[in-house]
């Protein structure tokens, strides 16, 4: 079996539904990172059958808010000196800044660089967010 060594310090994003790892990798723009990053795909999992894992070494400075939008089952492990110091379950964010584009073409966030798209969750079921500038509803899609 393919083996990747434990990280000393950093973040492990675990329990990613198989197939979603690459999307998360791209959304977090990890391809542009200058620290070591590993994406593991189709790893065996007791609960999921198969899962993806992302390991990020030497950095805690990543906005993980969007993970809740992608998959609620994801676990985030913060590692220090090779040990898990904090385990976090993700949840659907109530407020989202910058991660979603407003679907309303007339919204100022689609034409002015200063207007950072900011949303409030209105429906957990359908992942619907209300734009705080134009109030239109945008449905989140990965």
């Amino acid at each position: 079996m393919l083996e990747v060594k434990q990280i000393e310090k950093g973040i492990v994003i675990d329990h990613i539904k198989s197939g979603k790892g690459l999307k998360i990798f791209n959304k977090l723009m990890l391809d542009k990172s200058d620290f070591p990053v590993v994406l593991l795909m189709n790893v065996e999992s007791k609960f999921l059958g198969k899962k993806d894992i992302i390991k990020i070494e030497n950095s805690f400075d990543i906005d993980l808010n969007l993970l809740g939008l992608i998959d609620e089952n994801i676990t985030i492990n913060y590692i220090e000196k090779g040990k898990v110091i904090e385990k976090k379950k993700v949840s659907i964010p109530k407020e989202v800044k910058g991660l979603i584009k407003c679907e309303n073409p007339r919204c100022i966030t689609n034409s002015d660089i200063y207007a950072e798209p900011t949303f409030k969750l209105v429906s957990t079921e359908n992942l619907e967010y209300k734009c705080s500038f134009c109030e239109e509803i945008t449905k989140y899609k990965l």
């Binding site: 309303n104 007339r106 100022i108 002015d112 200063y114 207007a115 500038f133």
Partner: protein, 309 residues
């Protein structure tokens, strides 16, 4: 980002008390304008009109001039730095040094809100795309209060395009805050009030809503009749438009059975939805509405500037 400056972006951020204060002050100015003719002496209103709107712009400019203030601004985005690609945030930061208060009309929805985040002077939303136009709503409110004596317990009929009309949506939501007795919605099936607003009214205020197709069926019951224009382009085909448009034209005959103290309102411009013969009827208040709009804008400028009056 700048804090602690009061803006008017969305009327939802104004309490009922604040709205009533504006109406009361607007009515005082209407009665004795000379008392306020120097209230804003030495102050400058910037009119930032990124799309043309003669009516709203003149109303604001006249309001400021009648308060003894001055105005500067533009009425065409092509003559401003936006044509060079400048962000509204930068524009407003600079304008803040030149003016004491600003009104913005912009085709992009949310633009006045963005500018308010970066402005050190009060920003008034003068209309942002199809989104909000709060000073039109204030205009409607002062008209209702002036001619009906109160904002509460009315039967309000809205007639015409209730689907796309932002003035209607905003007025309905605001009037619901003032214990409206009943909303009567008169429109063709294609242009009914969006379900989201109906649901909001039911859930938050539990107000009675009646939907009908023809004005004749309900005219006797109405205290306030708010007319809107039906635009040809809202219909899928010409045939439907021609068939329906006459049903939504207000004539002398149609208002004959109405209450003697009913008032007829319209945000203007009117095209043909109110016959000219109705203008002579004492119940027609749409031109007075435009006049009162200027007085409530005067009140708004005074309040936002925080000047003594």
């Amino acid at each position: 980002m700048v804090n602690n400056v009061k803006h008017l972006i969305d009327l939802e951020t104004f309490s009922n008390e604040e709205i009533m204060e504006l109406i009361t002050l607007g009515q005082k100015i209407y009665k004795s304008p000379e008392k306020y003719s120097e209230a804003c002496k030495g102050k400058i209103l910037a009119t930032l009109f990124y799309e043309p709107s003669t009516r709203t712009k003149f109303s604001f400019e006249s309001a400021m001039l009648r308060l003894g203030g001055n105005i500067l601004g533009f009425s065409d985005a092509n003559t401003s730095s936006v044509s060079k690609g400048e962000s509204i945030a930068d524009t407003i930061r600079v304008i803040s040094y030149y003016a004491d208060i600003a009104v913005m009309r912009h085709p992009k929805e949310g633009a006045p809100k963005l500018s308010s985040l970066y402005s050190s002077i009060p920003i008034i939303n003068g209309g942002d795309g199809g989104h909000l136009h709060p000073t039109q709503t204030l205009t409607d409110l002062i008209t209702i209060h002036t001619y009906k004596g109160t904002l509460e317990n009315h039967v309000i009929g809205f007639c015409g395009d209730l689907k796309y009309g932002r003035t209607v949506h905003s007025l309905i939501k605001t009037m619901a805050r003032f214990n409206t007795k009943k909303f009567i919605l008169i429109s063709p099936e294609e242009l009914t009030l969006p379900n989201s607003i109906k649901r909001f009214l039911k859930e938050k205020y539990d107000v009675e809503i009646q939907e009908v197709r023809y004005i004749e069926d309900v005219i006797e019951e109405i205290d306030i009749l708010y007319m809107t224009r039906i635009q040809r382009e809202r219909f899928f085909n010409e045939e439907d438009y021609l068939r329906l448009k006459n049903s939504y034209i207000l004539t002398k005959d149609k208002i004959e059975p109405a209450k003697k103290d009913m008032i007829i309102m319209h945000p203007l411009p009117r095209v043909n939805e109110i016959a000219y013969e109705v203008d002579e009827d004492s119940r027609a208040k749409y031109f007075d509405q435009a006049k009162l709009g200027m007085y409530i804008r005067m009140a708004l400028i005074i309040k936002l500037l925080g000047v003594e009056y």
